[in-house]
């Protein structure tokens, strides 16, 4: 599976995946996600070109979300097809990372959440 990482600004990291998030696909992107989860502030995973998601792919996403959240970060996914979204909602992944139709809506929401968190701290 192809994985492209765009550091949009100081806050947002945009990850674009392309292919099947199956066993092989998960093995190909695991280390990349591990690094991003340990260093990003807000991670948006673009699933628009992901045609399949199963056990190991969910594990990769959940591990990243858990690491990010425990560091005080935020994670979201965007653009999943109907079946991929069904997988995410069946596991309850949407309880810990928002699901958005596109990158723009995900980025807007994460920026608002980060701003609210910053103002609370101040």
């Amino acid at each position: 599976m192809d994985m492209k990482v765009f550091q949009v600004d100081d806050e947002i990291t945009h990850v674009v995946l392309d292919g099947r998030f199956d066993i092989q696909g998960a093995q190909e992107v695991d280390s990349g996600f591990d690094q991003l989860a340990k260093s990003s502030k807000a991670l948006i995973v673009d699933l628009a070109k992901v045609s399949f998601l199963a056990s190991l792919g969910i594990r990769t996403l959940m591990l990243s979300a858990k690491t990010l959240i425990r560091r005080g970060g935020e994670m979201a996914v965007c653009g999943p097809n109907e079946n991929v979204e069904k997988v995410l909602r069946t596991t309850g992944f949407n309880e810990v990372a928002g699901i958005y139709p596109d990158y723009e809506s995900a980025a807007r929401t994460l920026r608002e959440r980060l701003a609210a968190f910053s103002s609370k701290k101040a």
């Binding site: 399949f52 199963a54 056990s55 594990r59 591990l63 069904k86 997988v87 069946t90 596991t91 309880e95």
Partner: protein, 147 residues
């Protein structure tokens, strides 16, 4: 017009994670060749990845076999492995409930298999776990291939 005859295929695999990945590719190819449609291909691939990885990682299976049969009213898939006895139909369907950073990373497979299949049945027979899963057929995909 008579209904199309059932179409089927099967294959044996060693009990390894690499073979599980091979099985995934094989199933995707066969689902396409049998004209099962994208919905059924996704659902079957999802359930088989879960079953195969469970059998290898937790059941210590040395051998697994998969058979697919496309019928006019659905798709029947049998997964068999020689691992330790395990009935996934009796395992609880886990789900993350509410915003939290304290959630399990695994264990969501049972809920997914029930969500994506029409019916699942299990039996232990001759030292093998035997799962039979039924899926909705994409009737349009089957019909268009039959033309």
């Amino acid at each position: 017009m008579s209904e199309p005859a059932p179409r089927a295929c099967s294959r044996d695999f060693p009990g390894t994670v690499e073979a599980a990945s091979d099985a995934e590719n094989w199933v995707a190819l066969q689902a396409n060749a049998l004209g099962l449609g994208q919905e059924a291909e996704f659902a079957i691939g999802l359930c088989l990845e879960e079953l195969f990885l469970n059998a290898v990682k937790h059941g210590h299976a040395n051998h697994a076999s998969i058979s697919l049969c496309a019928e006019p009213n659905g798709v029947i898939v049998e997964f068999a492995d020689d691992g330790e006895p395990f009935d996934p139909t009796r395992a609880p369907a886990k789900r993350i409930n509410g915003p939290t950073d304290d959630f399990d990373i695994g264990g969501y497979g049972t809920g997914l298999m029930h969500k994506f299949s029409r019916r699942i049945s299990y039996r232990r027979f001759e030292g093998m776990n035997r799962l039979v899963l039924e899926f909705e057929a994409d009737r349009n995909a089957n019909a268009s291939r039959g033309r």
